[in-house]
């Protein structure tokens, strides 16, 4: 274990092993931590991707529609529903979804993960409810951000100019207002994705999913410090990677950012 070495050396040795992919052995289960994390990532990463896809697919059309219909009853309705979505905790939504779709209708399993061994559909089926429970509150936030960002760009001179040149309201909206409103939307998306990777602890407990969040929870409860330590580093690392990807996306979305150095 190297306990005769000074703490600093032990720390360096640990970082070195970590970098080489040796995450140590779990105190509780006596198996390599990398194996545990690998098993769990097979649940958490698809869950996070599914949730973020659902959230985006719902939020952007809804947000744009609310902006386009600003001040009309439809806008007020959307804002009302999203306000409920923002206020509703995801675990509560998860319990409601289970009561309706699992207990009442028996369409989806209430808990657990069928695994990818029985086919992709089986796996997706057990992840759909938790993904929805995660996605809906996030979609509510995202659609409100989208709405205010699109409203802002709709008031810009270039949109008015486009309309003055004879472009229809829909074309002006989709060709000019929406692309320019994407920067704040992508920022929020990046934050949400990091949250989804690390913050699914509660949802994974509600649905008894063997994901990274539950592993973290169990490891903390059982004082399996090596697992906690590895997970914290990995999750922190993944947040950095996601933030970096978001920065790259900014450049892709906004040509001005690409040419700033040259200008």
């Amino acid at each position: 274990m190297g306990f005769d070495q000074p703490p600093f050396w032990r720390y360096l040795a640990w970082v070195g092993r970590f970098a080489l992919g040796d995450l140590g052995t779990s105190y509780t289960y006596s198996v390599p931590v990398s194996e545990l994390i690998g098993e769990r990532a097979g649940v958490s990463i698809p869950l996070a991707l599914m949730a973020i896809t659902l959230s985006t697919a719902i939020a952007i059309p809804v947000g744009v529609a609310a902006a386009a219909w600003r001040g009309r009853p439809a806008d007020a309705g959307i804002m009302g529903v999203t306000q409920i979505g923002v206020a509703m905790p995801n675990f509560w939504l998860g319990i409601l979804l289970v009561l309706l779709f699992s207990v009442r209708l028996a369409w989806f399993p209430a808990s657990g993960f069928a695994g990818w061994g029985g086919g992709v559909l089986q796996g997706l089926r057990s992840l759909l409810l938790p993904a929805l429970a995660l996605a809906l509150p996030q979609a509510a936030i995202l659609s409100r951000v989208t709405r205010s960002a699109v409203l802002e760009t709709l008031g810009e001179d270039y949109v008015r100019t486009a309309r003055a040149k004879g472009l229809g309201p829909a074309a002006a909206l989709w060709r000019h207002a929406v692309p320019n409103a994407l920067i704040p939307v992508v920022t929020i998306l990046g934050l949400q994705f990091s949250f989804l990777l690390a913050g699914t602890v509660i949802i994974e407990n509600v649905f008894t999913l063997p994901g990274l969040g539950r592993l973290m929870f169990q490891a903390i409860a059982q004082r399996d410090l090596i697992v906690v330590q590895d997970l914290v580093v990995l999750l922190a690392g993944s947040v950095i990677v996601v933030n970096f990807a978001v920065d790259l996306l900014y450049a892709a979305l906004d040509p001005r950012l690409r040419h700033r150095g040259a200008a």
Partner: protein, 487 residues
């Protein structure tokens, strides 16, 4: 549209056809799967009778039945047991079962470096011999009335020398099910053993799933994700299951005794007056109603109502807070005295802690509650003896012997009790045994080393079409060897 419908249909569960698999819910996940190297009941709930077998086994009624020993004879002095072994038993890894395995298993469990959680069970064994491969002769240093019962415990199962070191992660036994996979934190999967020596299991595969949250457990049963939850964690949801024809609700008994253990090595719990005061301060009926939803019987000693030699001592410490206060004052305990109660995860402890703290408040004791996970509890309370009081169910059957141990976590060290217990072990006449059992219980009640609260009920919920589930749990186990689905 039609394509969408077709896809939706694919998402639905497969239609009903003859089912021969089972998924069983459990609250706790075993720390590992070697039943000879850990005290956790969850290990037995997965492996006992399913994966591992001993020479004898304990059946659903708590009776001793032959397992890997086909038959046995006992010498007149009660010291020599001759077992005739099954000729065709084979371990899952192909190792043949014979007397060498028996000798290995018992010697290993009794060895000085043994990590067996019930090592004292093997203390009476003087030697294990093999006159021929199909016969084992066990000689005891003194007659032990409960020897055959003891050898039916999970801790006394037969272990192949080849797999002894790896049983924690890849258990190998002689049982009707083989270990298939363990997804940590989620499930353990077993499959039928086609080469089993006896009647083969009717189920082709079994999955044990770990669902700790009572709400999630209820939902998983209602949604049909789980077929059975033999130790169901949400007694408050039972009425819902009773009203539903799809389920069988079973309230049975276990060998579990819920007690508030006190650390006698710590002041003031070394003082008999303080321990008695605590016993007077706790209303067992209120505990049972509030915490166990009324399922449970009060106990007055560390012994199950209904077991041979039981004496009813429930009335020894009625609920009398005034008497408790007087005893505390006599022992010099001032009102406002603070103690800590450590609470392992089960509801009888976590919910029970709240109820008991409120009762202790009435007699001027401030109880701080310290909830702990199992691993932590096993380490701090059970190994290090570093606690004031804890709520715990002892699920081992007929375990009066734990109060005669040299060293155990509640530090009860009483020479009179030990002498009595020695006498009980040596007694061969049933009448003398019963009399000594009664004396042992009375001694415990008088000394009140721990506050004896209630029996641990076994509340099980399972699919109404399931047959052969254990209604009671005389030993911690989910014996699935004769479980099947009715048409």
């Amino acid at each position: 549209m039609r394509r969408i419908l077709a896809a939706a249909l694919l998402l639905l569960p497969a239609g009903a056809h003859a089912k021969d698999t089972l998924s069983v819910g459990m609250v706790l996940e075993p720390p590992h799967l070697d039943v000879t190297a850990g005290a956790a009941a969850a290990i037995r709930e997965v492996t006992y009778a399913n994966i591992y077998e001993g020479l004898t086994r304990i059946d659903a009624k708590g009776d001793i039945k032959p397992a890997l020993a086909e038959s046995w004879t006992v010498s007149p002095d009660g010291k020599t047991y001759t077992f005739k072994l099954r000729a065709n038993a084979v371990f899952h890894d192909g190792t043949k079962f014979d007397c060498g395995v028996v000798k290995f298993s018992y010697d290993r469990a009794a060895a000085a470096d043994s990590v067996n959680a019930q090592k004292p069970l093997f203390a009476a064994i003087a030697k294990t011999e093999c006159p021929d491969p199909q016969t084992t002769v066990v000689t005891l240093s003194q007659p032990t009335a409960s020897f055959l019962f003891n050898m039916g415990w999970g801790d006394a199962v037969m272990i192949s020398p080849k797999s002894a070191a790896t049983n924690k992660t890849n258990p190998v036994g002689t049982g009707p099910f083989r270990f298939k996979a363990w997804a940590k934190g989620d499930r353990v999967e077993l499959v039928r053993n086609p080469d089993y020596w006896g009647e083969k299991a009717k189920l082709s595969a079994v999955t044990f799933r770990f669902v700790a949250d009572p709400t999630a457990a209820t939902a998983a049963m209602l949604a049909g994700d789980l077929d059975a939850f033999p130790l169901f964690p949400a007694p408050e949801a039972l009425d819902q299951f009773k009203a539903d024809k799809r389920f069988t609700v079973d309230v049975g008994s276990t060998a579990g005794k819920i007690i508030m253990s006190l650390n006698e090595a710590k002041k003031p719990f070394d003082d008999l007056r303080v321990r008695r005061a605590l016993a007077y301060a706790i209303d067992r009926k209120q505990y049972i109603d509030g915490v166990l939803s009324g399922f449970g019987e009060p106990i007055g000693s560390h012994y199950m109502p209904g077991d041979a030699g039981y004496v009813d001592l429930v009335g020894a410490y009625p609920y009398e807070p005034a008497r408790a206060r007087a005893l505390l004052a006599e022992a010099g305990i001032k009102p406002g005295f603070a103690m800590t109660i450590t609470l392992p995860p089960p509801g009888y402890a976590r919910k029970g802690g709240e109820v008991i703290a409120a009762m202790l408040e009435q007699v001027g004791i401030t109880a701080k509650l310290a909830p702990m996970e199992w691993a932590q509890w096993l380490d701090i309370v059970f190994k290090q003896y570093n606690y004031d009081a804890t709520l715990i169910a002892h699920v081992e059957p007929r375990d009066l012997g734990i109060y005669a141990r040299e060293s155990y976590y509640y530090n009860y060290k009483n020479p009179e009790y030990r002498a009595l217990y020695e006498k009980y072990l040596a007694a061969t006449e049933p009448a003398a045994q019963a009399d000594l059992l009664g004396q042992l219980q009375r001694k415990l009640s008088a000394d009140e080393p721990n506050v004896f609260l209630s029996t641990l009920p076994k509340i099980g919920v399972w699919n109404a079409k399931l047959r052969g589930m254990w209604e009671n749990a005389p030993v911690p186990a989910n014996d699935l060897t004769s479980v099947y689905w009715a048409e």
